[in-house]
C-alpha cells in the first residue's frame, strides 16, 4: 500500500470535514429530538430529502436562488415538525415506537418523492455549483463551504440558545423531568412542539446542502441513517456541538480511509466507532 501525496491527503481531510459538517447538521435535529423529547425521529432523513427535492424544484423550475428557497421550505417544515410532535406526544409513544412510527412516515415520504420526481438521479445546477476556490493544490467548492458554514453556525446557535437563554433552560428542565418542570411554570407542550418544529426546519437546511452538493435519488434516504446515528451517539444525545464534532471526526476518518484503501471500506470506520462507543461509554445515554 503506497501512501497518497500530501495534496491528496489534504484534499481528503477537507472533503471529510465538509461531509462531516453535514453529518453534524443532520445529527443536530436528530440529537435534539432524541435527547430532549425522547423521540427517535427517523423521518428527519426523509424530511431532509424532501427538502432537497423541493429546493431542486424551486431552483430548477421556479428559478429561485438556492439559499432563498429556505424562506419557503423552512417555515413549512417547521409546521410539519410541530405536527409530528403533536402526533407522537398525543399518543404517548415510547422512544422505540417513535422510531417505528417515524420509519412508517419515512417510507410514505419516500414513496411521495418517488412518485413526484421518479427514482432517477437528479442533480441540481445553480450558480453556486460552478464556483470553486483554489488554494495551492487544494480545491474548495463553494457549495461545500456553504455547508460547513451553515452547519457550524446553526450548531453554535443552538448550543448557545440551550445554554444561555431562559428558553434553553426551560427546554433542558422539561427534558429532565417534564412534570416537575410543568409544576414550575414551564409550558412543556408548547416548548416541545416548538423544538420539534425547529428540528424539522433544520432538516430543511440540511436538505438545501444535500441539493447543493449531492446527486439525489429517493433510496439515498437510507444511506445516511447509519452514519448520522453514529455521529449522534458518539457526540451525545441532546448535545448541539457533540454531533458536529463527532460528525467531522467520522467524516475525516472515512475520507482518509477512502484515500488510503478503497471507498467501499469507509462504512467500517463509523460503525466500528459506533459499536465501540455503545459498549464502552458510561452513564445514561
Amino acid at each position: 500500500m503506497t501512501l497518497p501525496s500530501l495534496a491528496l491527503l489534504t484534499q481528503a481531510v477537507l472533503s471529510g470535514i465538509f461531509v462531516g459538517a453535514l453529518y453534524g447538521l443532520l445529527g443536530l435535529g436528530l440529537s435534539l429530538s432524541w435527547g430532549l423529547l425522547r423521540q427517535i425521529n427517523l423521518s428527519h432523513f426523509a424530511l431532509a430529502f424532501l427538502g432537497a427535492y423541493l429546493t431542486y424544484q424551486l431552483v430548477m423550475v421556479g428559478g429561485m436562488d438556492p439559499l432563498l428557497t429556505l424562506l419557503v421550505v423552512a417555515p413549512c417544515f417547521f409546521a410539519a415538525g410541530a405536527a409530528i410532535h403533536w402526533l407522537l406526544a398525543g399518543f404517548a409513544v415510547t422512544p422505540l415506537n417513535s422510531l417505528l412510527v417515524t420509519f412508517g412516515m419515512t417510507v410514505i415520504v419516500e414513496s411521495i418523492i418517488q412518485w413526484c420526481w421518479t427514482a432517477d438521479f437528479r442533480r441540481m445546477t445553480s450558480r453556486y455549483a460552478e464556483i470553486t476556490y483554489r488554494i495551492g493544490k487544494v480545491y474548495l467548492p463553494l457549495p461545500e463551504l456553504l455547508q460547513l458554514a451553515l452547519a457550524v453556525t446553526l450548531c453554535l446557535a443552538v448550543w448557545a440558545t440551550l445554554r444561555y437563554t431562559d428558553l434553553g433552560k426551560a427546554l433542558r428542565a422539561a427534558a429532565e423531568d417534564g412534570e416537575i418542570a410543568a409544576a414550575f411554570g414551564v409550558n412543556e407542550r408548547v416548548l416541545a412542539a416548538l423544538l420539534s418544529g425547529a428540528c424539522a426546519a433544520l432538516a430543511a437546511v440540511a436538505g438545501l446542502c444535500l441539493a447543493l452538493s449531492y446527486t439525489l435519488t429517493p433510496s439515498q434516504i437510507y444511506a445516511w441513517i447509519g452514519v448520522v446515528f453514529a455521529a449522534v451517539m458518539i457526540g451525545g444525545l441532546g448535545s448541539a456541538l457533540g454531533p458536529l464534532v463527532a460528525g467531522i471526526v467520522i467524516g475525516v476518518a472515512e475520507a482518509l480511509t477512502m484515500a488510503i484503501t478503497a471507498p467501499s471500506w469507509a462504512p467500517l470506520v463509523s460503525f466500528s466507532l459506533l459499536i465501540a462507543v455503545l459498549l464502552v461509554r458510561r452513564g445514561r445515554a
Partner: protein
C-alpha cells in the same frame, strides 16, 4: 383443522398450479420464518434488534460461497448456514449482553451497526469481492416436481419448524423467563432468572433460523450482492411485520408477515408499487398508535394471551390448605447469613461502612434505621443487585459477594420490593409461577403451578390469579410481592418495607401473615418503619445509621439505647435549641 391446512399446503405442488403461486407462497413463508425467528429473541425478551439482516446475510453468504465456490450440494450448506449465524450471535451476544446499558433503542442501533460492519467486510474481502456471487450453476434439489415447488416445500418445512420452535419456547419455562426480562430485567435476575443465558440461547436459536432462511433464499434469488443482502430494508420489514402482528404472541409475526407480503405483492403485481409501499408505512403508523399490542394482541383477549397456565385448581387448593397446615416452626438455630465488613459506595457517598451482622436460622430480624441509612442498599448487596466494594457475605456456607443475583436466588434468598415491581404483562399467577420455577425451589412448570396456587391461597389472591398486576390495589400488590418470593421456597426472605402504605387493618393481617411465613421455617429480615409491627414481629433488631451498625440486640433494649434515639430523633441538645 391444523392437520387439514397442513395437508392442503403440502398438496399444492402436486396440483399443477402455475409456478407463480408457489413463488408467492414461498415469499410468504420466507417472511414468516424471518419475522417469527426475530420475535423469538426480540419480541419475547424485548431486545428489539435491527440486526436480523446480519444473520440472514450470513446464511445467504455461507450457502452462496459453499455452493458456488466449493461445489457443496445445496442442502448440506443449510446446517452450516445455521451454525455460522448462531455462532456469530453467541459471539455478539456474549459481548453485548454483559453491558447492562445496551437495552432498548441502544441495542437496536448496535445490532444495526454490526450489520453494516459485516456488510463492509463481506463486500471488501474475497467472500464477495464486490460484484456479488452467482449461484446460477447450482442444482436445485428435487424435493417437489418442479424447482419452484422444491423451494416452496423447503420453505414450508422451515416455516413450520420455526413456528413450532416459537410456540414451544413461548410455552416453556424459558419463555416465562424471557417475558419477565421484557417487563423488568433487573427484577427477573434477582428473582432467579439467569437472564444472560436466557438471552444468549434465544439469540442463537433466532439467528440460526434466520441463517437457514438466508441459505434457502440465496439459491432462490440465485445471485447475491452485499448491498441487497444487508440493506436496512430487511430488518425494518421484519420489525414492522412482528409489531403489526403482535410481538407478545408466538403467532403474531406470522400474521403480520402474511398481511405485509400480500399487500406488497398485490400492489407490485397490480402496478401500484408506490401505493403499496406507502400503504405499508401508513399501516405501521396506524398499528403502533392505535393497536400497540399488534393485530393478534388486540384481537385476543389480553388474558387469553398466555392462558395455558389456567389449570383446574380445585385439587391444588385443597392440597395447599393441607400443606400449609402441616409445616412446623423450627427453633432458632445457627447463623444462616453472616455479613462481614461489607462496604459499598455510590460515587463518593458511603452507603455501607464495614457492616457486620448475622442472622440465625428461624429468626425474624428487624433491620431499622432512618431514611438513607443503608437498609435498602444492604438488601440489594445481599441479593446481588449491587456488588459489595469490600467484605464478605456467607450464606449457608456459600460466599455470595461473587455470585450473580440469579445464583443467589437459586441458593434460597428471596426479596420483596418496597414499591412493588410485578411483571406488568404476566398474570398474577404467572408472576408467582416464575419464581417457583426459577427461584430456590426450581420446580418444573406443572409443580410450579401447584406451588403458585398454594401461595396465592396463602395471600388471599386466588380470585385475582388471572388478573394483570395493574388491576390490583396496593395492598394486593404487596401481597403479590410476598407470594412471589414465597413460591421460591426461600431459606432467607428479605422484606423491604412490605407494610408501608397499608391501613392499620391491612397491617394487622400482614403481621399475621409474616408470623405464618416464619412458622414455615423461613428466616426473615424485616426492613420496616412501622414500629408497632416491628416490635410485634422481630426477635432481634439491628439499627443502621449512615451505613454503620449502631445497635444490635433484643427489641426493647435496642430501642432504649441513646444512640438509637439520637439517630431517629436527633441529639437532645439539638432538640432543646
Amino acid at each position: 383443522m391444523l392437520v387439514g391446512a397442513g395437508a392442503a399446503l403440502l398438496a399444492i405442488p402436486f396440483l399443477h398450479f402455475p409456478a407463480f403461486y408457489e413463488s408467492f407462497l414461498y415469499l410468504v413463508f420466507h417472511w414468516i420464518v424471518l419475522a417469527t425467528s426475530w420475535n423469538i429473541l426480540c419480541g419475547y425478551s424485548g431486545y428489539f434488534s435491527f440486526g436480523h439482516g446480519a444473520f440472514f446475510g450470513l446464511g445467504i453468504y455461507t450457502t452462496a460461497v459453499l455452493t458456488a465456490r466449493f461445489q457443496w450440494p445445496f442442502l448440506a450448506t443449510l446446517p452450516v448456514a445455521a451454525a455460522t449465524a448462531a455462532m456469530a450471535a453467541v459471539a455478539l451476544g456474549s459481548l453485548v449482553f454483559r453491558v447492562k446499558r445496551v437495552r432498548g433503542e441502544l441495542f437496536a442501533l448496535l445490532t444495526l451497526a454490526v450489520t453494516f460492519v459485516l456488510a463492509t467486510i463481506i463486500l471488501n474481502t474475497p467472500i464477495d469481492g464486490g460484484p456479488g456471487v452467482s449461484l446460477g450453476g447450482v442444482a436445485v434439489p428435487a424435493i417437489g416436481p418442479t424447482p419452484s415447488s422444491s423451494f416452496y416445500l423447503l420453505e414450508l418445512a422451515t416455516a413450520a419448524a420455526t413456528l413450532g420452535i416459537a410456540y414451544a419456547i413461548w410455552r416453556s419455562k424459558l419463555g416465562t423467563g424471557l417475558f419477565a426480562i421484557r417487563d423488568d430485567e433487573d427484577v427477573a435476575e434477582v428473582l432467579g432468572v439467569p437472564t444472560f443465558r436466557c438471552k444468549l440461547i434465544v439469540f442463537a436459536i433466532s439467528s440460526a433460523l434466520a441463517g437457514i432462511a438466508g441459505g434457502i433464499h440465496a439459491l432462490f434469488i440465485s445471485y447475491v450482492t452485499a448491498a441487497e443482502t444487508f440493506s436496512i430494508i430487511v430488518p425494518l420489514t421484519v420489525v414492522l411485520m412482528s409489531v403489526l402482528g403482535g410481538t407478545r404472541h408466538w403467532a403474531g409475526p406470522a400474521v403480520g408477515a402474511t398481511i405485509i407480503t400480500v399487500i406488497s405483492y398485490a400492489s407490485t403485481a397490480g402496478d401500484y408499487p408506490l401505493a403499496g409501499k406507502a400503504a405499508v408505512g401508513a399501516i405501521l403508523i396506524a398499528v403502533i398508535l392505535f393497536m400497540p399490542e399488534g393485530v393478534l394482541g388486540t384481537l385476543l383477549d389480553r388474558r387469553a394471551r398466555r392462558t395455558f397456565s389456567a389449570p383446574d385448581r380445585a385439587g391444588t387448593v385443597a392440597e395447599a390448605r393441607a400443606s400449609n397446615a402441616g409445616a412446623a416452626r423450627q427453633a432458632i438455630g445457627a447463623a444462616l447469613l453472616t455479613v462481614h465488613g461489607v462496604s459499598r459506595a455510590f460515587s463518593g457517598i458511603q452507603a455501607l461502612r464495614r457492616v457486620d451482622l448475622s442472622i440465625r436460622a428461624g429468626e425474624i430480624l428487624g433491620l431499622l434505621g432512618p431514611n438513607g441509612s443503608g437498609k435498602s442498599t444492604l438488601i440489594n448487596v445481599i441479593s446481588g443487585h449491587y456488588r459489595a466494594d469490600a467484605g464478605s457475605i456467607d450464606f449457608d456456607r456459600h460466599e455470595l459477594t461473587h455470585l450473580a443475583p440469579h445464583q443467589i436466588a437459586r441458593l434460597g434468598v428471596a426479596r420483596t420490593y418496597q414499591i412493588p415491581r410485578p411483571f406488568a404483562h404476566l398474570t398474577v399467577l404467572e408472576n408467582v409461577v416464575l419464581t417457583a420455577m426459577f427461584g430456590g425451589a426450581a420446580l418444573d412448570r406443572r409443580d410450579a403451578l401447584q406451588e403458585a396456587w398454594r401461595w396465592l391461597e396463602f395471600t388471599a389472591l386466588v380470585d385475582k390469579a388471572q388478573a394483570l398486576p395493574d388491576d390490583l390495589n396496593l395492598h394486593q400488590r404487596k401481597f403479590l410481592e410476598l407470594a412471589r418470593s414465597l413460591a421460591s421456597h426461600p431459606k432467607l426472605l428479605l422484606l423491604d418495607e412490605v407494610l408501608s402504605g397499608l391501613t392499620p387493618t391491612e397491617i394487622d393481617s400482614a403481621v399475621d401473615l409474616i408470623h405464618r411465613i416464619r412458622d414455615h421455617g423461613t428466616t426473615i429480615v424485616l426492613v420496616e418503619h412501622v414500629m408497632r409491627a416491628v416490635m410485634a414481629l422481630a426477635d432481634r433488631i439491628v439499627v443502621l445509621d449512615q451505613g454503620q451498625v449502631i445497635a444490635d440486640g433484643l427489641p426493647l433494649e435496642v430501642m432504649a439505647q441513646p444512640a438509637v434515639i439520637t439517630a431517629y430523633l436527633g441529639a437532645k441538645n439539638d432538640a432543646a435549641r
